[in-house]
């Protein structure tokens, strides 16, 4: 597979999707689309309906109303589902007595694929050395990799991942990020749900933000972060008075914070930077505050899920090959 040589993704369309679990409305008239060739983050606090939506997309949960389709068809009606869609879902498990390779052979058989794919996908996720080990002895991270290998068994056009970073170490998370980017670079579709915002901000092109089962925002990462109120540019300069004059002349709203610090509302570094440079204003600091994905998320979801951010793991640079997995 060479990045950029194929465009084989399929669009995902969620249209008016709702799901009641008894009196609980888990998903409320949700509509959004996911485009091929992009990594789309499906973001929301715990209990916001992400998993239920993905499960409805895969036919595991029956919608109360609305549709969830892939290339215009429900998952069950796709001619060869596992060739079209690969899914990594939360709470999926394996028979502990089964060996990794056997599990994948079984998946290959079920999808009508060559059983040799088992070894290929094991290599792809860095589990070749563990092919004959029983899954019962696998670590959480290894199970997550095996789940990904299962999803890839049919070389699918669409990859759906529900909280895929759970259980992965920082190297694994970085590898997964690279993999998703690579997958999308081939024109394929990636829909990934997560509450790890710092991780998602480094990975996704588009975002769909949900809260209480409702759509709160959808667009490119840039569109979403740009559209949020409360984004502030902060500049610190020994020439604060002259800076204030330039901003006033340019019609930019600003507030004086301290004797050498000014806050500007509704502008980006790309707008302010050239303006200050052309006026030869000395700067000690120019920073954007409150316009990142996390701020948008917290703003749109009323702060729900904030505690989850503590789980976000740092992701140091890693080599492109999968790291060695030993429990």
């Amino acid at each position: 597979m060479t990045p950029g040589t194929t465009t084989r993704g399929l669009p995902i369309e969620i249209n008016g999707l709702s799901k009641h679990f008894g009196p609980v409305l888990a998903v409320d008239n949700l509509s959004f689309t996911v485009e091929p060739g992009r990594v789309t983050g499906f973001l929301g606090p715990n209990g916001s309906g992400k998993t239920t939506t993905l499960r409805m997309l895969l036919g595991l949960v029956h919608p109360s109303s609305g549709t969830a389709t892939i290339a215009g068809q429900s998952y069950q009606n796709l001619p060869n589902p596992t060739s079209s869609v690969g899914a990594v879902l939360e709470a999926t498990s394996f028979h502990p007595a089964r060996r990794a390779r056997t599990h994948l052979r079984m998946a290959a058989r079920a999808g009508g694929h060559d059983e040799k794919r088992a070894d290929e996908v094991l290599g792809l996720v860095g589990l070749s050395g563990d092919a004959k080990r029983k899954i019962g002895g696998f670590s959480m991270g290894m199970r997550q990799r095996l789940e990904l290998a299962t999803a890839l068994i049919g070389d699918p056009d669409v990859l759906i991942l529900d909280e895929p970073s759970n259980g992965l170490d920082p190297q694994g998370i970085a590898w997964l990020r690279d993999f998703m980017r690579y997958f999308a670079s081939e024109g394929r579709t990636v829909l990934v749900s997560s509450h790890l915002l710092s991780e998602m901000a480094q990975t996704i092109d588009d975002a769909v933000i949900v809260s209480f089962g409702q759509l709160k925002a959808q667009g490119t990462l840039e569109e979403i972060t740009k559209g949020i109120t409360g984004i502030v540019m902060r500049a610190r300069s020994p020439e604060a008075d002259r800076l204030a004059g330039v901003l006033a002349q340019a019609g930019i709203a600003f507030r004086r914070i301290t004797h050498d610090e000014i806050a500007m509302d509704g502008v980006t570094p790309e707008q302010v930077g050239p303006l200050l440079a052309s006026n030869q204003i000395v700067l000690y600091e120019l920073a954007q505050e409150g316009g990142d994905l996390e701020s948008v998320f917290l703003s749109l979801t009323a702060g729900l899920g904030f505690g989850d951010l503590a789980d976000a793991a740092p992701t140091p640079p890693t080599p492109p090959t999968p790291p060695d997995q030993t429990p």
Binding site: Q76, L89, T92, R98, G111
Partner: protein, 271 residues
């Protein structure tokens, strides 16, 4: 469908519980053979005696039923409940999203493994029962003459008892509960109900799963009041259904819970 079936067959082949169940077929058949030889002597004074009557000969040939009636339902139960016990049902439904197709693959897989159990029992009959009967003074051909009357029904009863287990497994989902319900129901509760029905109402309660299976498997009637209709039976003899009635009744015992389980449990949301 073929893909789902191939995957299910591999799935079953890689479950330790299935092999334990399969392995029990041999000792249980040998136990069945011992019972037939022990009961064949009657008042002759011998501990073990060769089989003579039609019923005895059929019972010896169908001694594998002793294992089948226990193990085939367990195979059916394991086939479906392991998905819930090990939480693999989500993955299975992602791979085979049409649920009726997945369930049909499990029906066929259960049938295949139930037949394996029956065949293993027949191997034990050939290897142990027939030589032993000859050594005791019996005529082998008098037993093998009954192959046509016993073995097709024995294999079919194995398939339908497996379906019976699969049906209850689909309905109940909990592995332990499903095994207790099927095995406890057929081995203990059925016996109690039969005895009560006979004692109180003088009625042959012969349409319960085990009785239906015994009727289908060549009127082997072991454990049903001391004699099947093959012996003619006395006034107190337990009358089994005819083989085809037994087959239909056992099919209903399998399809009933399976259909009910499909519409109530198997089609539910997998959250």
């Amino acid at each position: 469908m073929i893909n789902a079936l191939r995957a299910e067959l591999l799935k079953m082949r890689t479950m330790p519980g299935v092999w334990v169940t399969f392995g029990l077929a041999l000792p249980l058949t040998v136990l069945g053979i011992l019972i037939v030889f022990a009961s064949a002597g009657g008042f002759s004074g011998h501990t073990f005696y060769f089989v003579t009557s039609l019923s005895q000969r059929r019972r010896l040939l169908g001694a594998g039923y002793f294992g089948i009636e226990i193990l085939a339902p367990i195979i059916g139960v394991l086939c479906i409940t392991s998905e819930y016990r090990q939480k693999t049902i989500t993955g299975s439904l992602v791979l085979v999203p049409i649920r009726s197709r997945l369930l049909l693959a499990k029906v066929i897989t259960t049938a295949v493994w139930s037949i394996f159990i029956a065949l293993l029992g027949l191997v034990a009959i050939a290897a142990v029962a027939l030589p032993w009967n000859a050594a005791l003074g019996g005529v082998t051909s008098q037993v093998t003459d009954q192959i046509g009357a016993v073995i097709p029904g024995l294999l079919l009863s194995a398939v339908l008892l497996g379906l019976f287990g699969l049906g209850f497994g689909t309905l109940v989902k909990n592995q332990v509960a499903a095994i207790l319900l099927t095995i406890g129901g057929t081995l203990i509760l059925e016996g109690i109900l039969i005895a009560l029905a006979k004692a109180i109402f003088h009625y042959d309660l012969n349409w319960l799963p085990n009785g239906a299976g015994a009727a289908l498997a060549g009127d082997i009637a072991r454990g049903f009041g001391g004699g099947g209709s093959g012996d003619g039976g006395g006034a107190n003899a337990f009358r089994l259904l005819t083989w085809w009635q037994g087959g239909l009744v056992l099919l209903a015992w399998g399809l009933g819970p399976l259909t009910l389980g499909y519409f109530t449990t198997f089609r539910r949301d997998v959250t």
